[in-house]
Every structure is written in C-alpha cells, then in structure tokens.
C-alpha cells in the first residue's frame, strides 16, 4: 500500500488527506529509508549549517580501527542477539550508527576507545587474549562482571560505565532501525484517527474510558 492509499484507507478527514498529499508532493525526498553520504534527502528542511556539518562528518575517515569495530560488532550481538522475533544488532547495522554518532557527539569517543582498550586488557589478564580473540563463553563470563550496575565489584566499575554506554548505544541503534521498530511492535507514525484505548484493552485492565 502506498502512502496515498494508506491515507485514504484511514479515517482521515478529506481536507487533511488533501493537504497532506500536497505536502508530500512538495517534499523533495525520495522514498528512501537509510541515509548515507550519497543520500542527503533527509536534509530537506535542514538548515545550511546542519547540511554542511553532515557533509563534513561523512567526509571524515572512520573513527574506529578494524579491531575496535570488530569488537563493537561482537559486543552488539552479545547485547542484542538474533531470536525468534528479529535479527541481531549486526543485522540492523548498529555499528554504522555507532561509527556516525561518535563523530557527531565526540564525547563518546574517549570513553568508547578507552573502554575497548580496558576490556582487551582485562581479557588479556584473565584469558591471555583480546576480547575478540576469546571464546564466546569467555566473552560472556567477562560481560557478567560488568553488565549489572550496582552489583559490580569495585575493580570493574570502569567496565560497568563502559558497558552501560555500549548497551545504550546498541539499544538506540537497534530499536531505531526498521528491524528494531518492527520487533518492538511500534505501529504509529502514520495518519490515523485516535479514538481512545481499544475496548478489549480497557477490558483487559478492568478500566473505563471517560
């Protein structure tokens, strides 16, 4: 169903539908979903300085080296693995988001680079290998030491901070992707008519809608 049909199908008033279709027409963006340096349609409505900033960021070389990038991919898939509902963090290309966001928000850079190094050094002293060289069991064992805020031993607190940041960035990267949005079951961002909580849901919670 294309946008025109979907707007018609919903009980949007005729006037709104007409105005919205006109608005869609004047929108110069193609019907693309992912954005990269070849595709700045997202920039429709952006201010000049925002467009220039974006171009500049895209022109920068990667922040993470190959080893760091690999380690982040492994961490991403340990945090959000594929399951019966949806794919993994790497299926949703979470690493590309993280690579972009550390350029966009440089405050992430030192904690991530340093944290990755911290992780490798911990693994080296425990297992004689970098994190990415460890077996999956060893990787899981390592994460168990830093993945539960409030339960972490004092000597691993820096690791906890690092892992909180990675978990949150991976969650953002995954759940703002098409894969993640579908997984969550978010069904909005489309013209509709809000008529209140569905009757069966009210019933489920034994509530009345006034």
């Amino acid at each position: 169903m294309n946008r025109r049909q979907s707007i018609k199908a919903l009980s949007v008033t005729a006037l709104s539908a007409g105005l919205l279709l006109d608005a869609c027409k004047t929108d110069t963006s193609k019907n693309t979903s992912e954005v990269d340096h070849t595709n700045l349609e997202y920039a429709a409505g952006l201010q000049d300085f925002e467009k220039e900033r974006l171009e500049k960021l895209y022109a920068q070389p990667n922040f993470f080296n190959e080893h760091e990038r690999n380690t982040l991919v492994i961490l991403g898939d340990l945090i959000i693995p594929a399951d019966a509902v949806s794919g993994s963090a790497s299926d949703a290309k979470v690493i590309d988001f993280i690579e972009f966001i550390v350029k966009d928000i440089p405050d992430h850079q030192v904690p991530l680079r340093g944290g990755l190094k911290w992780l490798d050094m911990q693994c080296f002293s425990l297992y004689g290998k970098s994190f990415s060289g460890c077996s999956k069991d060893q990787q899981v064992e390592m994460l168990e030491l830093i993945a539960y805020p409030g339960k972490t031993k004092p000597e691993f607190h820096q690791g906890e901070e690092f892992f909180n940041r990675v978990r949150n960035l991976v969650a953002t990267g995954f759940y703002t992707s098409k894969v993640g949005i579908k997984d969550l079951g978010y069904v909005g961002n489309t013209p509709n008519k809000w008529k209140g909580v569905p009757a069966e849901v009210l019933q489920q919670y034994n509530l009345k809608d006034e």
Binding site: L15, T176, Y186, N189, Y205, L207
Partner: protein
Amino acid sequence: MGDVQIKESAEQYDVLIVGSGAGGGMAGYVLANAGIKVLMLEAGPFFDPVKQSQQLKWPYESPRRGAGTTRAFGDFDAAYGGWQIEGEPYTTKDKTEFQWFRSRMLGGKTNHWGRISLRMGPLDFQPTDGLSDPWPITYEELKPFYDKVDRMIGVYGTNEGLENDPDGIFLAPPKPRLNEIFIKNGAAKAGVKVIAGRGSVLTEELPGNKDRGACFYCGQCGRSCKVYGDFSASSCLVIPAIKTGNLKVITNAMVRQVLTDKEGKATGVSYVDKTDGQEYQLKAKVVVLGASACESARILLNSATAQHTGGLANASGVVGKYLHDSTGASLGGFLPQLMDRKRYNEDGVGSVHIYSPWWLDNKKLDFPRGYHIEYGGGMHMPSYGFGGGIAKMNGAVPGRDGQTKPGGGFGASLKDDYRRFYGTQVGMAGRGTALARKENFCEIDPNVVDKFGIPVLRFNYTWSNEEIKQAKHMIDTFQEIMHQMGAVITSTIQGPETNYGLEAPGRIIHEVGTVRMGNDPKTSALNKWCQAHDCKNLFVVDAAPFVQQGDKNATWTILALSMRTAEYILDQRKKQNI
C-alpha cells in the same frame, strides 16, 4: 571590509513589526487583514511547515537517530536555534544562571512548542496575596480576546467551571491513552484532580477555515504540522497574512535598534541582513516589537538616545527587570502492570491529553501561588536514547520466571525485556508560578557584543524560597501519584542540594515580564494597551508586557494581548492619535 554603508529605504510603512512569533504574528495578521500595509522583520529564515517540517520521518532517516546534536529537542524538532547560537552569545552576572532559548525562524518558538493553551485566570491578573503587582487589566477585559483566539485558531479542552482556570470555546479533547487512565486514577487517589488537556490542535476541522486540516494523530506537533493541524504562528498567522497582500516579511533581518526622532517618537528600525552583513534603515509610522521577551528588552535598551537615555520606553528604568520563567520539576517511572502490553497506535496528539490545573488552597501551604501538572507516557516512536533506562527497570520487578534478577544485563533476556517494558513508562512535570521580582533581570552587558556588533544581554536570576518550596511540593506530589497508581519510580529523587530538581531559570522557555505594563509610568514601561508610556507609536506584543505570569503557559495570553493591542492600533490610527 569596506566602509560601512547604510541603505535607507524611502518608503514609509504604516506598521513595522519586529518578530514573527505568536505576538508579532498575531499583530501582523490583525493589521494586514484590516488593510494596513505591514512590514515584518524576522531574524531567521522563512519557514513553512508544509515544506520544511520533519513530520512523519522515521528515526532511521536521521543518521543520528533524532539525537539533539544540532537541535536542542532532537533532530526532527522544528526549532531552528536553541540555548546557544553561534556568534550570538549572552552572559550571566555574579555566577547566577539563566538559559535563553531562541528560535530564529518564521513563527519562532511556536513551531515547536507543546501547544498547551491555557488562559490566565482572574487571580493571575489581580492577585489578592499582595506578593506581586496587579496587571493594569482584568481577566474580564481580556476574555473577549481569548474567546476570539479560541475561535480563530482552535483549542481543545473541557469546560470545568474552575475559578482561576477559565473555560474556553473548546473543540473535543483527545481521549486519554492507557497510561493516562492509570495516571488519572492514581492522581485521584492522591487527591489531585486530572482533567482533559487544553491544546491548540485541531481535533476537528475548524469551522470556516479551509487552509488548515484536522489533526491526523501522529503526535509530532513539535516537528510542526504539514497540514497546519496545530497552531504555529508561521502557518496560522504570518503566511495567511502574507496572502492578504498587505504583509511583507524580510527574513534574516537582525534588528539592531529602534530609531527615534528629536521628539523621541519612533521613526523605524535599523537592522543587519544576516546573509550579507548589509546594514539597513527602514521607516514606519508605528513600530511593534514582538521579538520575544528578552530580545525586545534588548532592542529597547540598545535604542538609547539623548531623549531616551536609559533605553527607549525606559524612563521608569524597569526594562529588563521583573524577568521570570515558569518553575519546572519532573519525575519519571513505569507501570509494571503494563508490561507485555498489546500494541496499537496511540501516538495521539502532540500536546497533552490530560493535565492537572492547580488544585490546592495556599492558606494551608508554605509557598504562594501554584503549578499545573503535565503528564505523558506510552508507546512512542523510538528515538536516540531509547532503552537508556532499562537497567533501572528490569531489575525492579520479577521476570517471566518469577525471579527478580539484577538490572541491566545483555543477551536474549535483555532483548526480551526491551520488548516487555516498551510502552510502560510514565512521566509528569510541574509548571508553576515564579514571582516577578525586580532583582531578576536582563541588562546590556557593557563589555560584550555579538557577531553583528550588537551589545548582548547579561542575565541576573536566582530562585527564591517560594519557588524552591514549590518544587519540593511538586516532587512530593509526583511521588504520591506514582505510588497510588502502582508505578515504580526510576528518576532519582532530588533533595535540597539540587533545589528538589527545580530547573534552571529559562529552561522552561516561559520567560516573561521584561517590558512590563502598568498604569503608573514610574513603575512600568507600557500602558494597559502595551503602548510605551514615553513613545506613543511604539508597542510591545510578545511576553515582555506580562506583569506576572500565572501557572499557565504564556502563548495563549500573548495571542490575546497582541490581538487586543493590534485592534487598539487600528482604533488609534482611525483617531489619528498615532
């Protein structure tokens, strides 16, 4: 750079308006529709939501997934500008704090605002506790204009017959979302009345208006609306005014000062074109400032002459003083009973579905005035920061196996938790009355200019015990409501060391009071028509004229006041007084 050249326009406009937000936009709309030739200057670019709104875009269409790197409220938010603008600094005095949000674009802050549209009440205009000066007008005098604004722009809500939260001419309010029904029931048990929200969103088509569509419930008013289904000054006032043929807008025009003649009368303004740095002077019979409360004060203070030594309209010395923002504090949590909830589209409107007007009697409290509460929560579109609270949620309640595990984690069970907790969150925020005080002010910094060479504002603002106690009351109340609805609080409870979470002055973006009205020219800058006491052809139509804000967001009152002032300008022109 060569010699400075100032281009002077030979043409004299009937009325020149500085600023295109709620105040400037309304004045322009009324005057242009009355056949007056109006010129409007806007410091930012042209903005039409039809073309430039980020509405209906998905988070993955932004490489930063909606993060607020270049826009304070996220990548998709409509506001051009923010707390800091490159090359346009402001300063603070004696280590006090004020944060100044500026939205440089056609329509100003009305493109991204929360659309919460509250009338001030009789007691807000004429307080009986003696703690702030009365306005020179009463609620009854402004009521007809609130009525006209309601009809012209559209606002949803319910008539409740409350003494200080006046009823209006309302469209049907949106029904509460699931979380909001829980909030309403919890609040009732905590003794807090919850009623339908009041927002300027067209939940129905606006009678007689074919340019604006009804809301299609994407919940994204903050991005501005492509069908003009909510109120922005750009879409609802300035663009329609341009279509009359009587209003012209010059964009990227940063006003330096109001020009005056030997008699002290306003003759026009000077401005710099931000695109090429060229200086201009324009002539007008009447000058109207609607540049925002602080920017209008800045222009007046920067317009000092031999006749107006302390700044234009400032014989009283009050310009810049009595600056006040709303108080604000908030609390967040989640409803365990909503875990694993059924999915459906509950985006709703982008303003509040429910709210609590102030409900208590101050005689029994240790602080004056009051606050209202705005509520939210539910299955929102994920954006940057999604899942950030998970470690405080998934360790707070038993998992599927009945066992409570430590918060945080990773792997399949964490992924399951993101799903289980989605849509369970609730939040509430208080917005209250801060008292207008002479000691809280903005003034011209004697040492600093912006990149256009315009002297900048220096702020001096501190909260007093009245506001801090109010914030404590908010936090106590929010905890009780959360408790009564069975929610788990995830926010850190703020104590006296952080003023109970009271936001820094300016953060709520309800700053008002810097060019206040009054009957006495010794203690006020403007008369009851928002006309300068000492410059009869100069008017101010933004939130600067407010004597004292209530616990109501300012926009609806700006609109009503500006409409009233514009009609007064028409009347005075007819009588040839200006």
